[in-house]
């Protein structure tokens, strides 16, 4: 029963992605066709903004407000919110899904309070400046391949910039204005301190953020994200490959394989940019109140929804840079050459779009689960992690990767190094820490020494040679 509900829900989610992406391609083809008859091209960008950003990302982020509460509840063995219901239905009948509606309604109907001496314009500008750049980040992330729909090429990206990654860095660093303005304009010392914490954290981690992607830029010799010559699509190429009939099998040049350290650094730095736990000392909702202390109602809602949009966008960006974008790990060639796919390119686009959003969903889950696993970093730990760990490791990764790419431009050496790094982390994860090992050994010794005439003190006991028993 419950299993059925879960699978039906998953089916609805992926079916939704599938339908929306198919619709995005069809709509793109239609407007391209319309534009071509009027002498303009690239009108599909507008429909992509509409569907990719306004519909998928925004709805995704809105659903996440509830998902975070329910998921965290499951992780902590709780039931989570389940009281909201529609009139006429029994309590808890819809598993709390109407909480999305009630949350929005609550935000909208609350008073938008402004402190007496707060700067009127800047106070209102804060949440907008925090929201807008985060949202705009998604513009360069490709959510599907470029396909010929109704004889016109349709790109599944809002804007195909040559400087995609640089745009990413530039816009991401704009978000700091929103937080520091919010902190300053509130005319509140605690908010100001929160804003200062936020800006120092975001600026510190921007260094590591930029550095962590340089390895990928060198590997593919581009800063472009979308398009056939973009980083996202170039990850489809195989490092090692074989064929089973017409099915192509192999290891793709995904960023996670050739730059695992770069991925970890980027993930950590971008996590700090989103200001979510464990990097949420700028907010510290319950105790060290943060920069949006004075905001209420929908103005606070803007900060909150910006955070969730950032989670989705960050998931999409990481998928595009490190997880092969919309492509499958293998079998891409086989899928693209299928007769039915050649006949109905919209179907192919919908499949690849679903793959992209599925990967994004996984990374969104990863961010959520980290937020509910890790305790918050102290302020000094944040700065130490950023400057003393991420930055040197990023530099080292950059030099090693650069040398390996120079030595072997086919990226295979880089991938072997990547597997070495992954193997080291896997080994460390699967073996117990030194302290645990020592305790186990001590316990074993203690067990062996059972029945000894005069029990020695614990410290000495562990040192007794086994032959004395």
């Amino acid at each position: 029963m419950r299993l059925g509900v879960v699978f039906v829900s998953l089916g609805l989610i992926f079916g939704g992605f599938f339908a929306l992406m198919g619709g995005a391609y069809a709509l793109g083809g239609v407007v391209e066709d319309f534009g071509r008859t009027h002498g303009v091209s690239g009108l599909a960008s507008l429909t992509n903004i509409l569907i990719l950003m306004l519909m998928i990302v925004m709805v995704f982020a809105t659903l996440l407000t509830l998902a975070e509460r329910k998921w965290s509840a499951f992780m902590q063995d709780r039931v989570g919110p389940n009281r909201a219901r529609f009139p006429g239905l029994p309590n808890a009948s819809l598993a709390g899904i109407p909480h999305i509606v009630t949350d929005v309604f609550k935000m909208l109907t609350k008073e938008a309070f402004r402190p007496k001496n707060a700067s009127k314009v800047l106070f209102a500008l804060g949440p907008m400046l925090a929201f807008a750049p985060v949202f705009a980040l998604f513009a360069v992330v490709p959510a599907g391949p470029t396909l010929k729909i109704f004889d016109h090429p349709v790109m599944m990206v809002s804007t195909n910039l040559d400087f995609g990654l640089l745009y990413l860095f530039a816009i991401a660093s704009l978000a700091v204005y929103g937080t520091s303005l919010a902190g300053w304009a509130s005319n509140n010392k605690f908010a100001l301190l929160g804003g200062v914490r936020a800006s120092s954290q975001m600026i510190s981690y921007e260094v590591a953020l930029g550095l962590s992607l340089v390895g990928m830029m060198i590997a593919f010799s581009t800063v472009k994200l979308a398009g056939p010559d973009g980083m996202s699509e170039m990850q489809m190429q195989y490092l090692w490959s074989t064929r089973v009939g017409s099915f192509d099998l192999g290891l793709p040049a995904w960023g996670i394989f050739i730059q695992p350290l770069g991925f970890l650094l980027f993930f950590a730095a971008a996590f700090a940019e989103t200001k979510r736990a464990p990097f949420d000392s700028p907010e510290g909702e319950s105790e060290i109140v943060g920069y949006f202390l004075e905001y209420s109602g929908m103005q606070f809602g803007m900060f909150m929804i910006a955070e969730f949009v950032e989670v989705v966008v960050l998931g999409g960006v990481i998928v595009a840079i490190f997880f092969g974008g919309w492509s499958l790990p293998f079998g891409n060639e086989w899928l693209m050459n299928l007769a039915v796919m050649k006949q109905y390119p919209i179907l192919l686009g919908a499949i690849y779009g679903t793959v992209f959003w599925g990967k994004t969903l996984l990374l969104v889950y990863l961010q959520m689960v980290i937020r509910w696993t890790m305790p918050r970093f102290r302020y000094d730990q944040i700065q130490k992690l950023g400057w003393q760990i991420l930055l040197p490791v990023g530099l080292a990764n950059l030099f090693v990767s650069g040398a390996l790419i120079l030595w072997d431009p086919s990226l295979r050496a880089l991938a072997l190094f990547g597997f070495f790094v992954i193997g080291v982390f896997a080994f460390l994860t699967l073996t117990p820490p030194k302290q645990v090992r020592q305790e186990q050994e001590a316990a074993d010794d203690h067990h062996g020494g059972h029945g000894h005439a005069a029990p020695a003190p614990h410290d000495d006991h562990a040192a007794l040679p086994a032959s004395t028993h």
């Binding site: 029963m1 419950r2 299993l3 879960v6 998921w71 509840a73 499951f74 992780m75 902590q76 063995d77 709780r78 039931v79 389940n82 309590n91 808890a92 970890l264 990863l366 689960v369 980290i370 509910w372 696993t373 890790m374 982390f425 460390l428 994860t429 820490p433 030194k434 302290q435 410290d459 000495d460």
Partner: protein, 237 residues
């Protein structure tokens, strides 16, 4: 760790140097994620078991919540719940207005007004007892649920075996319970009851319920279990 620790007490307090797994964060975070995800998946796919009994729990889900207003946990045996005035077989309270409970009550929440049976009124069969409560009022807001009134009662007339707590009310007056609100539950009689001692009547032909009804009556949880006290059968005189 080292043998120096015996000489220098301060050395014991030095921090254990963090393992490489902790200093690089990643392995420990991965372990944490694995743990959290395990709980997430178990609770996502598993059906929540509303059974409050921890040892009887089965199934995937690790959620232990009982959705209170819809699902209720039976109170444990011996739970001191809301008072009740125990009725006789004829529906009148067993209480003889002796004031024992009101006297012992540390919270002074019991108010009794005694009435006296007249020599020739219509309560002829009740004449063996002289007093009855005209008013018997418990202020449940004052009650500290100590159960001393139950122990003090010589007539087994007040019990706390309803296995419910005091329901909420909108005003304080609602918590003041009088006889109509208090008089409920199964009737109880004992062979020693004075109204059986009249010359005209014989002791009732039923088991002596005193010992076991005290513990089990009203306890739904106990219905499934074997009786805690063996039922003693009284031989007919």
């Amino acid at each position: 760790m080292s043998s120096h620790s015996h000489h220098d007490p301060l050395e014991k307090r030095e921090l254990v140097e963090a393992d490489i797994r902790e200093r690089t964060y990643v392995p420990e975070i991965l372990k944490g994620i694995a743990l959290t995800t395990k709980h997430f998946l178990r609770n996502l796919f598993g059906e929540r078991d509303p059974n409050p009994d921890v040892v009887d729990r089965k199934g995937l889900a690790t959620i232990t919540t009982v959705n209170y207003p819809e699902e209720k946990v039976d109170y444990p045996p011996g739970y001191r719940g809301l008072h009740r005035l125990v009725p006789r077989e004829d529906g009148k309270p067993r209480c003889v207005a002796c004031y024992m409970c009101a006297t012992i009550c540390p919270a002074q929440c019991i108010y009794i007004e005694a009435g006296e049976y007249g020599g020739d009124d219509e309560h002829a069969e009740s004449r063996v007892i002289e007093k009855y409560p005209k008013q018997f009022v418990i202020d449940e807001l004052r009650c500290i649920v100590c159960g001393l009134c139950v122990d003090a009662c010589p007539k087994d007339a007040i019990r706390m075996d309803t296995y419910t707590h005091v329901p909420s009310e909108y005003n304080r007056q609602g918590f003041v319970y009088d006889i109509p609100k208090l008089l409920k539950g199964p009737a109880v009689s004992h062979p020693s009851d004075p109204w059986y001692k009249r010359g005209s009547s014989a002791p009732p032909d039923h088991v002596h319920k005193e010992a076991h009804t005290r513990i089990t009556a009203g306890g739904a949880a106990l219905a499934k279990r074997p009786p805690l006290v063996e039922v003693v059968k009284f031989a007919k005189p």
